[in-house]
Amino acid sequence: MLPELFFGYFAAVIILLSVIVITRRNPVHSVMWMLLLFFHIAGLYLFLNAEFIAAIQVIVYAGAILVLFLFVLLLLNLREELKVKRFVGAWPAGLFITTAILVIVLGAVKSFVPGPAGKYSIEFIKQETHTKALGKLLYTDYLFPFEIASLVLLVAIIGAIVLAKRKTRSK
Protein backbone atom coordinates (compact mmCIF):
# COMPACT_ATOMS: atom_id res chain seq x y z
CA MET A 1 0.00 0.00 0.00
CA LEU A 2 2.65 2.48 1.05
CA PRO A 3 4.91 1.93 -1.98
CA GLU A 4 1.97 2.45 -4.30
CA LEU A 5 1.07 5.67 -2.53
CA PHE A 6 4.63 6.76 -2.67
CA PHE A 7 4.85 6.04 -6.38
CA GLY A 8 1.49 7.67 -6.99
CA TYR A 9 2.67 10.84 -5.34
CA PHE A 10 5.89 10.95 -7.32
CA ALA A 11 4.25 10.09 -10.61
CA ALA A 12 1.53 12.66 -10.19
CA VAL A 13 4.00 15.38 -9.22
CA ILE A 14 6.39 14.51 -12.03
CA ILE A 15 3.65 14.64 -14.63
CA LEU A 16 2.25 17.84 -13.21
CA LEU A 17 5.66 19.46 -13.09
CA SER A 18 6.43 18.38 -16.63
CA VAL A 19 3.33 20.08 -17.84
CA ILE A 20 4.14 23.17 -15.83
CA VAL A 21 7.70 23.24 -17.17
CA ILE A 22 6.65 23.33 -20.76
CA THR A 23 3.83 25.79 -20.33
CA ARG A 24 5.49 28.56 -18.29
CA ARG A 25 5.78 31.89 -19.99
CA ASN A 26 8.89 32.91 -18.10
CA PRO A 27 11.77 30.54 -18.91
CA VAL A 28 13.42 31.22 -15.54
CA HIS A 29 10.32 29.93 -13.81
CA SER A 30 10.37 26.95 -16.10
CA VAL A 31 13.89 26.22 -14.97
CA MET A 32 12.91 26.44 -11.33
CA TRP A 33 10.01 24.07 -11.81
CA MET A 34 12.31 21.77 -13.67
CA LEU A 35 14.67 21.83 -10.72
CA LEU A 36 11.86 20.59 -8.56
CA LEU A 37 11.01 18.02 -11.20
CA PHE A 38 14.55 16.68 -11.16
CA PHE A 39 14.44 16.32 -7.41
CA HIS A 40 11.35 14.23 -7.73
CA ILE A 41 12.92 12.11 -10.40
CA ALA A 42 15.91 11.65 -8.13
CA GLY A 43 13.50 10.59 -5.41
CA LEU A 44 12.04 8.04 -7.76
CA TYR A 45 15.54 6.70 -8.42
CA LEU A 46 16.11 6.34 -4.69
CA PHE A 47 12.88 4.44 -4.58
CA LEU A 48 14.30 2.15 -7.25
CA ASN A 49 17.46 1.55 -5.19
CA ALA A 50 19.62 3.55 -7.54
CA GLU A 51 21.21 5.93 -5.10
CA PHE A 52 24.25 6.75 -7.20
CA ILE A 53 22.08 7.60 -10.18
CA ALA A 54 19.93 9.76 -7.92
CA ALA A 55 23.01 11.60 -6.71
CA ILE A 56 24.35 12.30 -10.16
CA GLN A 57 20.86 13.23 -11.29
CA VAL A 58 21.00 16.03 -8.78
CA ILE A 59 24.66 16.90 -9.23
CA VAL A 60 24.76 16.86 -13.01
CA TYR A 61 21.24 17.74 -14.02
CA ALA A 62 20.32 20.10 -11.24
CA GLY A 63 23.79 21.31 -10.35
CA ALA A 64 25.29 21.69 -13.80
CA ILE A 65 22.90 21.49 -16.71
CA LEU A 66 20.10 23.55 -15.22
CA VAL A 67 22.53 26.12 -13.88
CA LEU A 68 23.86 26.36 -17.40
CA PHE A 69 20.34 26.95 -18.66
CA LEU A 70 19.85 29.60 -16.05
CA PHE A 71 23.10 31.27 -17.01
CA VAL A 72 22.18 31.38 -20.65
CA LEU A 73 18.79 32.77 -19.78
CA LEU A 74 20.41 35.50 -17.77
CA LEU A 75 22.85 36.28 -20.58
CA LEU A 76 20.05 36.63 -23.09
CA ASN A 77 17.75 39.53 -22.54
CA LEU A 78 14.27 38.09 -22.63
CA ARG A 79 12.09 40.87 -21.37
CA GLU A 80 9.76 40.84 -24.35
CA GLU A 81 9.39 37.11 -23.93
CA LEU A 82 6.76 37.80 -21.32
CA LYS A 83 4.53 39.59 -23.82
CA VAL A 84 4.54 37.32 -26.85
CA LYS A 85 2.76 34.11 -27.73
CA ARG A 86 4.09 31.02 -26.06
CA PHE A 87 3.01 28.38 -28.55
CA VAL A 88 3.20 28.12 -32.29
CA GLY A 89 -0.04 28.57 -34.18
CA ALA A 90 -0.42 24.92 -35.02
CA TRP A 91 -0.12 23.62 -31.48
CA PRO A 92 -3.32 21.57 -31.70
CA ALA A 93 -1.66 19.50 -34.42
CA GLY A 94 1.25 18.87 -32.08
CA LEU A 95 -1.14 17.94 -29.33
CA PHE A 96 -2.91 15.54 -31.65
CA ILE A 97 0.25 13.80 -32.77
CA THR A 98 1.58 13.53 -29.23
CA THR A 99 -1.66 12.19 -27.83
CA ALA A 100 -1.95 9.68 -30.62
CA ILE A 101 1.54 8.33 -30.02
CA LEU A 102 0.93 8.32 -26.27
CA VAL A 103 -2.26 6.31 -26.64
CA ILE A 104 -0.56 3.78 -28.85
CA VAL A 105 2.49 3.49 -26.58
CA LEU A 106 0.37 3.13 -23.48
CA GLY A 107 -1.52 0.42 -25.31
CA ALA A 108 1.74 -1.24 -26.21
CA VAL A 109 3.09 -1.12 -22.64
CA LYS A 110 0.34 -3.50 -21.55
CA SER A 111 1.73 -6.26 -23.72
CA PHE A 112 5.23 -5.85 -22.27
CA VAL A 113 6.78 -9.05 -20.96
CA PRO A 114 9.91 -8.69 -18.81
CA GLY A 115 12.91 -10.81 -19.66
CA PRO A 116 14.91 -13.01 -17.29
CA ALA A 117 16.37 -11.39 -14.17
CA GLY A 118 20.10 -10.77 -13.93
CA LYS A 119 22.45 -11.24 -10.99
CA TYR A 120 22.15 -7.75 -9.52
CA SER A 121 19.44 -8.49 -7.01
CA ILE A 122 18.54 -5.98 -4.30
CA GLU A 123 20.45 -7.95 -1.69
CA PHE A 124 23.48 -8.21 -3.89
CA ILE A 125 23.53 -4.45 -4.41
CA LYS A 126 22.95 -3.77 -0.73
CA GLN A 127 25.86 -5.96 0.20
CA GLU A 128 28.25 -4.59 -2.38
CA THR A 129 26.88 -1.03 -2.24
CA HIS A 130 25.38 0.45 -5.31
CA THR A 131 28.24 2.75 -6.23
CA LYS A 132 30.79 -0.03 -6.10
CA ALA A 133 28.70 -2.39 -8.20
CA LEU A 134 28.12 0.28 -10.80
CA GLY A 135 31.75 1.36 -10.78
CA LYS A 136 33.03 -2.19 -11.21
CA LEU A 137 30.81 -2.70 -14.22
CA LEU A 138 31.61 0.70 -15.67
CA TYR A 139 35.35 0.25 -15.42
CA THR A 140 35.44 -3.28 -16.76
CA ASP A 141 32.77 -4.21 -19.28
CA TYR A 142 31.93 -0.66 -20.22
CA LEU A 143 35.40 0.84 -20.13
CA PHE A 144 35.47 1.59 -23.81
CA PRO A 145 32.10 3.36 -23.93
CA PHE A 146 33.21 5.19 -20.81
CA GLU A 147 36.31 6.47 -22.56
CA ILE A 148 34.22 7.49 -25.55
CA ALA A 149 31.91 9.38 -23.24
CA SER A 150 34.88 11.27 -21.87
CA LEU A 151 35.87 12.14 -25.42
CA VAL A 152 32.33 13.35 -26.10
CA LEU A 153 32.59 15.60 -23.10
CA LEU A 154 35.93 16.95 -24.25
CA VAL A 155 34.49 17.74 -27.65
CA ALA A 156 31.55 19.42 -25.98
CA ILE A 157 33.83 21.59 -23.86
CA ILE A 158 35.91 22.72 -26.79
CA GLY A 159 32.88 23.09 -29.02
CA ALA A 160 31.02 25.20 -26.51
CA ILE A 161 33.99 27.51 -26.09
CA VAL A 162 34.46 27.88 -29.82
CA LEU A 163 30.79 28.48 -30.46
CA ALA A 164 30.05 30.90 -27.70
CA LYS A 165 33.26 32.87 -27.87
CA ARG A 166 32.74 36.36 -29.21
CA LYS A 167 34.52 36.59 -32.51
CA THR A 168 37.50 38.88 -32.35
CA ARG A 169 37.58 40.95 -35.49
CA SER A 170 40.44 39.74 -37.65
CA LYS A 171 42.71 42.48 -38.84
Binding site: N26, V28, H29, M32, L35, E51, F52, A55, I56, V58, I59, A62, G63, A64, V67, L70, F71, L74, T129, H130, T131
Partner: protein, 348 residues
Protein backbone atom coordinates in the same frame (compact mmCIF):
# COMPACT_ATOMS: atom_id res chain seq x y z
CA UNK B 1 -13.49 4.28 11.90
CA UNK B 2 -11.62 2.18 14.37
CA UNK B 3 -11.42 -0.57 11.75
CA UNK B 4 -9.50 1.68 9.47
CA UNK B 5 -7.31 2.72 12.38
CA UNK B 6 -6.67 -0.91 13.19
CA UNK B 7 -5.63 -1.57 9.66
CA UNK B 8 -3.34 1.40 9.60
CA UNK B 9 -1.83 1.09 13.05
CA UNK B 10 -0.04 -2.18 13.03
CA UNK B 11 3.20 -3.22 14.58
CA UNK B 12 4.98 -2.28 11.45
CA UNK B 13 3.60 1.20 11.13
CA UNK B 14 4.27 1.85 14.78
CA UNK B 15 7.86 0.87 14.34
CA UNK B 16 8.09 3.13 11.38
CA UNK B 17 6.54 6.00 13.28
CA UNK B 18 9.07 5.43 16.02
CA UNK B 19 11.91 5.66 13.57
CA UNK B 20 10.49 8.80 12.02
CA UNK B 21 10.13 10.28 15.48
CA UNK B 22 13.76 9.60 16.29
CA UNK B 23 14.83 11.15 13.02
CA UNK B 24 12.79 14.26 13.76
CA UNK B 25 14.36 14.45 17.18
CA UNK B 26 17.80 14.19 15.69
CA UNK B 27 16.97 16.89 13.17
CA UNK B 28 15.77 19.16 15.93
CA UNK B 29 18.88 18.64 17.99
CA UNK B 30 21.22 19.17 15.08
CA UNK B 31 19.38 22.23 13.86
CA UNK B 32 19.28 23.77 17.30
CA UNK B 33 22.92 23.20 18.01
CA UNK B 34 23.98 24.31 14.54
CA UNK B 35 21.99 27.51 14.60
CA UNK B 36 23.37 28.34 17.97
CA UNK B 37 26.84 27.70 16.71
CA UNK B 38 26.18 29.83 13.65
CA UNK B 39 24.97 32.68 15.79
CA UNK B 40 28.04 32.56 17.94
CA UNK B 41 30.27 32.07 14.95
CA UNK B 42 29.41 35.64 13.99
CA UNK B 43 30.21 36.77 17.48
CA UNK B 44 33.53 34.94 17.53
CA UNK B 45 34.41 36.28 14.15
CA UNK B 46 33.96 39.84 15.30
CA UNK B 47 35.87 39.13 18.47
CA UNK B 48 38.76 37.34 16.83
CA UNK B 49 39.16 39.88 14.06
CA UNK B 50 38.77 42.65 16.58
CA UNK B 51 41.60 41.35 18.66
CA UNK B 52 43.72 40.66 15.65
CA UNK B 53 43.27 44.29 14.66
CA UNK B 54 43.95 45.36 18.26
CA UNK B 55 40.45 46.45 19.14
CA UNK B 56 37.83 44.91 21.32
CA UNK B 57 34.91 43.96 19.07
CA UNK B 58 31.38 43.67 20.56
CA UNK B 59 31.51 44.37 24.26
CA UNK B 60 28.38 46.22 25.34
CA UNK B 61 25.58 43.62 25.27
CA UNK B 62 26.11 41.16 28.09
CA UNK B 63 29.43 40.03 29.51
CA UNK B 64 32.05 40.93 26.89
CA UNK B 65 29.21 41.42 24.41
CA UNK B 66 28.20 37.81 24.77
CA UNK B 67 24.56 38.48 24.00
CA UNK B 68 25.35 40.48 20.85
CA UNK B 69 24.29 37.74 18.38
CA UNK B 70 20.90 37.49 20.06
CA UNK B 71 20.43 41.21 19.88
CA UNK B 72 21.42 41.16 16.21
CA UNK B 73 18.93 38.39 15.53
CA UNK B 74 16.13 40.26 17.24
CA UNK B 75 16.98 43.39 15.33
CA UNK B 76 16.96 41.63 11.94
CA UNK B 77 13.75 39.87 12.77
CA UNK B 78 11.88 43.04 13.43
CA UNK B 79 13.35 45.08 10.61
CA UNK B 80 11.12 46.11 7.70
CA UNK B 81 11.07 43.59 4.89
CA UNK B 82 11.63 45.68 1.75
CA UNK B 83 10.76 44.19 -1.63
CA UNK B 84 11.74 46.08 -4.81
CA UNK B 85 8.77 47.02 -6.99
CA UNK B 86 10.05 45.40 -10.18
CA UNK B 87 11.31 42.25 -8.52
CA UNK B 88 10.17 38.82 -9.59
CA UNK B 89 8.41 38.29 -6.30
CA UNK B 90 8.05 34.51 -6.12
CA UNK B 91 11.69 34.00 -6.91
CA UNK B 92 12.70 36.88 -4.70
CA UNK B 93 11.03 35.10 -1.79
CA UNK B 94 12.34 31.74 -2.80
CA UNK B 95 16.01 32.57 -3.29
CA UNK B 96 17.15 32.97 0.37
CA UNK B 97 15.12 29.92 1.31
CA UNK B 98 16.87 27.79 -1.26
CA UNK B 99 20.18 29.13 -0.08
CA UNK B 100 19.48 28.39 3.55
CA UNK B 101 17.83 25.05 2.93
CA UNK B 102 20.63 23.76 0.78
CA UNK B 103 23.05 24.61 3.56
CA UNK B 104 20.97 23.11 6.31
CA UNK B 105 20.17 19.93 4.36
CA UNK B 106 23.84 19.14 4.15
CA UNK B 107 23.85 18.74 7.89
CA UNK B 108 21.80 15.58 7.58
CA UNK B 109 24.69 13.43 6.42
CA UNK B 110 27.40 14.75 8.74
CA UNK B 111 28.37 12.30 11.49
CA UNK B 112 29.13 14.40 14.58
CA UNK B 113 30.36 11.45 16.52
CA UNK B 114 30.33 7.72 16.10
CA UNK B 115 26.77 6.71 15.21
CA UNK B 116 25.24 10.12 15.52
CA UNK B 117 24.12 11.03 12.02
CA UNK B 118 20.64 11.86 10.78
CA UNK B 119 20.92 9.89 7.55
CA UNK B 120 23.76 7.41 7.31
CA UNK B 121 23.66 7.07 3.54
CA UNK B 122 26.22 5.39 1.32
CA UNK B 123 26.70 8.39 -0.92
CA UNK B 124 27.10 10.97 1.78
CA UNK B 125 29.92 12.81 0.05
CA UNK B 126 27.99 12.96 -3.21
CA UNK B 127 25.01 14.28 -1.30
CA UNK B 128 27.14 17.07 0.04
CA UNK B 129 28.26 17.99 -3.48
CA UNK B 130 24.68 17.96 -4.67
CA UNK B 131 23.53 20.25 -1.90
CA UNK B 132 26.42 22.65 -2.23
CA UNK B 133 25.71 22.95 -5.93
CA UNK B 134 22.14 23.86 -5.06
CA UNK B 135 23.36 26.87 -3.15
CA UNK B 136 24.24 28.42 -6.50
CA UNK B 137 20.54 28.61 -7.33
CA UNK B 138 19.82 30.76 -4.35
CA UNK B 139 22.60 33.13 -5.35
CA UNK B 140 21.67 33.34 -9.05
CA UNK B 141 17.99 33.74 -8.34
CA UNK B 142 18.44 36.39 -5.69
CA UNK B 143 20.64 38.33 -8.11
CA UNK B 144 18.21 37.99 -10.97
CA UNK B 145 14.96 38.39 -9.11
CA UNK B 146 16.03 41.61 -7.41
CA UNK B 147 16.06 43.32 -10.79
CA UNK B 148 19.07 45.40 -9.82
CA UNK B 149 22.41 45.87 -11.53
CA UNK B 150 24.53 45.22 -8.46
CA UNK B 151 22.58 42.20 -7.44
CA UNK B 152 22.62 40.79 -10.91
CA UNK B 153 26.37 41.18 -11.41
CA UNK B 154 27.04 39.87 -7.93
CA UNK B 155 24.79 36.91 -8.59
CA UNK B 156 26.49 36.05 -11.88
CA UNK B 157 29.93 36.41 -10.36
CA UNK B 158 29.09 34.32 -7.39
CA UNK B 159 27.40 31.62 -9.38
CA UNK B 160 30.31 31.19 -11.76
CA UNK B 161 32.69 31.26 -8.82
CA UNK B 162 30.76 28.63 -6.92
CA UNK B 163 30.37 26.38 -9.95
CA UNK B 164 34.03 26.67 -10.88
CA UNK B 165 35.33 25.90 -7.42
CA UNK B 166 32.83 23.11 -6.91
CA UNK B 167 34.78 21.14 -9.52
CA UNK B 168 38.07 21.70 -7.74
CA UNK B 169 36.53 20.80 -4.41
CA UNK B 170 34.94 17.66 -5.76
CA UNK B 171 38.18 16.57 -7.35
CA UNK B 172 40.15 17.31 -4.19
CA UNK B 173 37.94 14.91 -2.29
CA UNK B 174 38.35 12.14 -4.85
CA UNK B 175 41.72 11.37 -3.29
CA UNK B 176 40.04 10.87 0.05
CA UNK B 177 37.42 8.64 -1.53
CA UNK B 178 40.17 6.54 -3.08
CA UNK B 179 41.97 6.26 0.24
CA UNK B 180 38.84 5.30 2.14
CA UNK B 181 37.18 3.29 -0.62
CA UNK B 182 33.82 4.69 0.34
CA UNK B 183 31.57 7.69 -0.05
CA UNK B 184 30.02 7.26 3.36
CA UNK B 185 31.38 9.91 5.73
CA UNK B 186 31.36 7.62 8.75
CA UNK B 187 33.31 5.04 6.78
CA UNK B 188 35.76 7.69 5.75
CA UNK B 189 36.38 8.63 9.38
CA UNK B 190 36.78 4.97 10.36
CA UNK B 191 39.19 4.45 7.50
CA UNK B 192 41.27 7.34 8.80
CA UNK B 193 41.30 5.83 12.23
CA UNK B 194 42.67 2.61 10.78
CA UNK B 195 45.26 4.53 8.79
CA UNK B 196 48.72 4.85 10.40
CA UNK B 197 48.82 8.65 10.33
CA UNK B 198 45.33 8.88 11.76
CA UNK B 199 44.19 11.60 9.38
CA UNK B 200 44.19 11.89 5.60
CA UNK B 201 45.49 15.44 5.72
CA UNK B 202 49.02 14.06 5.76
CA UNK B 203 49.02 11.70 2.77
CA UNK B 204 46.46 13.88 1.02
CA UNK B 205 48.19 17.18 1.73
CA UNK B 206 47.72 18.27 -1.91
CA UNK B 207 44.02 17.48 -1.79
CA UNK B 208 43.74 19.21 1.56
CA UNK B 209 45.35 22.35 0.20
CA UNK B 210 43.04 22.41 -2.82
CA UNK B 211 40.09 21.73 -0.56
CA UNK B 212 40.90 24.62 1.77
CA UNK B 213 41.24 27.13 -1.06
CA UNK B 214 38.11 25.81 -2.77
CA UNK B 215 36.19 25.90 0.50
CA UNK B 216 37.03 29.57 0.95
CA UNK B 217 35.82 30.31 -2.55
CA UNK B 218 32.72 28.13 -2.21
CA UNK B 219 31.55 30.05 0.81
CA UNK B 220 32.37 33.42 -0.78
CA UNK B 221 34.75 34.23 2.04
CA UNK B 222 37.78 36.42 1.89
CA UNK B 223 40.06 36.46 0.03
CA UNK B 224 37.49 35.34 -2.51
CA UNK B 225 34.48 37.40 -1.52
CA UNK B 226 34.14 38.95 -4.95
CA UNK B 227 30.35 38.58 -5.17
CA UNK B 228 29.91 40.94 -2.28
CA UNK B 229 32.87 43.20 -2.85
CA UNK B 230 31.54 46.32 -1.20
CA UNK B 231 33.63 48.76 -3.17
CA UNK B 232 32.42 47.38 -6.48
CA UNK B 233 29.03 45.86 -5.97
CA UNK B 234 27.63 47.31 -2.74
CA UNK B 235 26.66 44.02 -1.14
CA UNK B 236 26.48 41.79 -4.20
CA UNK B 237 23.56 39.51 -4.73
CA UNK B 238 21.77 40.39 -1.50
CA UNK B 239 21.97 44.14 -1.95
CA UNK B 240 18.19 44.43 -2.18
CA UNK B 241 17.46 42.11 0.73
CA UNK B 242 16.74 43.35 4.15
CA UNK B 243 15.42 42.16 7.46
CA UNK B 244 14.61 38.52 7.85
CA UNK B 245 15.52 37.52 4.29
CA UNK B 246 18.90 39.12 4.73
CA UNK B 247 19.28 37.14 7.92
CA UNK B 248 18.63 33.96 5.98
CA UNK B 249 21.47 34.69 3.59
CA UNK B 250 23.67 35.60 6.50
CA UNK B 251 22.88 32.43 8.34
CA UNK B 252 23.23 30.40 5.19
CA UNK B 253 26.72 31.69 4.65
CA UNK B 254 27.84 30.86 8.15
CA UNK B 255 26.15 27.49 8.01
CA UNK B 256 28.03 26.80 4.80
CA UNK B 257 31.27 27.76 6.57
CA UNK B 258 30.43 25.42 9.39
CA UNK B 259 29.68 22.63 6.96
CA UNK B 260 32.91 23.18 5.10
CA UNK B 261 34.77 23.04 8.39
CA UNK B 262 32.95 19.85 9.23
CA UNK B 263 33.82 18.28 5.91
CA UNK B 264 37.43 19.24 6.42
CA UNK B 265 37.33 17.73 9.89
CA UNK B 266 35.65 14.56 8.69
CA UNK B 267 37.51 13.92 5.49
CA UNK B 268 40.98 15.17 6.29
CA UNK B 269 41.39 15.55 10.01
CA UNK B 270 39.92 12.29 11.26
CA UNK B 271 36.47 13.44 12.42
CA UNK B 272 35.63 12.39 15.94
CA UNK B 273 38.75 10.24 16.31
CA UNK B 274 42.27 11.12 17.19
CA UNK B 275 45.23 9.29 15.70
CA UNK B 276 46.07 5.95 17.31
CA UNK B 277 49.64 6.89 18.10
CA UNK B 278 48.39 9.66 20.37
CA UNK B 279 45.95 7.40 22.24
CA UNK B 280 48.68 4.80 22.52
CA UNK B 281 50.91 7.37 24.12
CA UNK B 282 48.21 8.80 26.35
CA UNK B 283 45.49 6.18 26.94
CA UNK B 284 43.70 8.69 29.16
CA UNK B 285 42.51 10.57 26.10
CA UNK B 286 40.41 7.51 25.13
CA UNK B 287 37.82 8.64 27.64
CA UNK B 288 37.22 11.98 26.01
CA UNK B 289 33.96 11.80 23.97
CA UNK B 290 34.36 11.96 20.17
CA UNK B 291 32.20 15.04 19.80
CA UNK B 292 34.86 17.04 21.62
CA UNK B 293 37.55 16.13 19.15
CA UNK B 294 35.21 16.82 16.34
CA UNK B 295 34.24 20.26 17.66
CA UNK B 296 37.87 21.16 18.33
CA UNK B 297 38.73 20.42 14.75
CA UNK B 298 35.73 22.38 13.45
CA UNK B 299 36.55 25.33 15.66
CA UNK B 300 40.14 25.25 14.55
CA UNK B 301 39.07 25.40 10.95
CA UNK B 302 36.60 28.21 11.68
CA UNK B 303 39.39 30.10 13.39
CA UNK B 304 41.43 29.65 10.26
CA UNK B 305 38.59 31.24 8.30
CA UNK B 306 38.68 34.30 10.56
CA UNK B 307 42.42 34.45 10.53
CA UNK B 308 42.55 34.49 6.74
CA UNK B 309 39.85 37.12 6.61
CA UNK B 310 41.84 39.36 8.91
CA UNK B 311 45.08 38.80 7.03
CA UNK B 312 44.70 38.48 3.28
CA UNK B 313 43.55 41.10 0.75
CA UNK B 314 40.90 40.41 -1.88
CA UNK B 315 41.77 38.91 -5.24
CA UNK B 316 40.76 40.36 -8.59
CA UNK B 317 37.97 38.48 -10.38
CA UNK B 318 40.07 37.17 -13.27
CA UNK B 319 42.76 36.08 -10.82
CA UNK B 320 40.13 34.20 -8.90
CA UNK B 321 38.98 32.32 -11.99
CA UNK B 322 42.56 31.70 -13.06
CA UNK B 323 43.41 30.20 -9.68
CA UNK B 324 40.38 27.94 -9.85
CA UNK B 325 40.78 26.63 -13.36
CA UNK B 326 44.49 26.83 -13.97
CA UNK B 327 45.94 25.89 -10.61
CA UNK B 328 43.50 24.12 -8.36
CA UNK B 329 41.87 21.82 -10.90
CA UNK B 330 45.15 20.64 -12.46
CA UNK B 331 46.55 20.21 -8.98
CA UNK B 332 43.57 18.16 -7.89
CA UNK B 333 43.79 16.04 -11.02
CA UNK B 334 47.48 15.49 -10.38
CA UNK B 335 46.64 14.49 -6.84
CA UNK B 336 44.15 11.92 -8.13
CA UNK B 337 46.70 10.43 -10.53
CA UNK B 338 49.34 10.42 -7.83
CA UNK B 339 47.08 8.84 -5.27
CA UNK B 340 45.92 6.22 -7.74
CA UNK B 341 49.45 5.36 -8.74
CA UNK B 342 50.69 5.15 -5.18
CA UNK B 343 47.65 3.13 -4.14
CA UNK B 344 48.22 0.56 -6.86
CA UNK B 345 51.89 0.44 -5.92
CA UNK B 346 50.85 -0.18 -2.34
CA UNK B 347 52.70 2.81 -0.91
CA UNK B 348 49.62 4.57 0.49
Amino acid sequence: MSDILNILITEETLNMLMKIGIIFLKIAVVLGITLLHVAYATYWERKVIGHMQVRLGPIEVGWHGFLQPIADGVKLFFKEDIIPANADKPLFYLAPVIFMVSALTSLSVLPFFDGFVIADINIGLLFLFAMSSLGAYGIILSGWASNSKYSFLGGLRSASQVISYEIAMGLSLVGVMMMAGSLNLSDIVRAQHQYPTGMFAIPQFLGFFVFIVAAFAETNRLPFDLPEAESELVAGYFTEYSGFRFALFFLGEYTAMLIMSSIAALCFLGGWTIPKFITDAMPLLMNVPGIVWFLIKVYAFMFFYYWVRATLPRYRYDQLMAIGWKILIPLALFNIVLTGTLRTMGVL
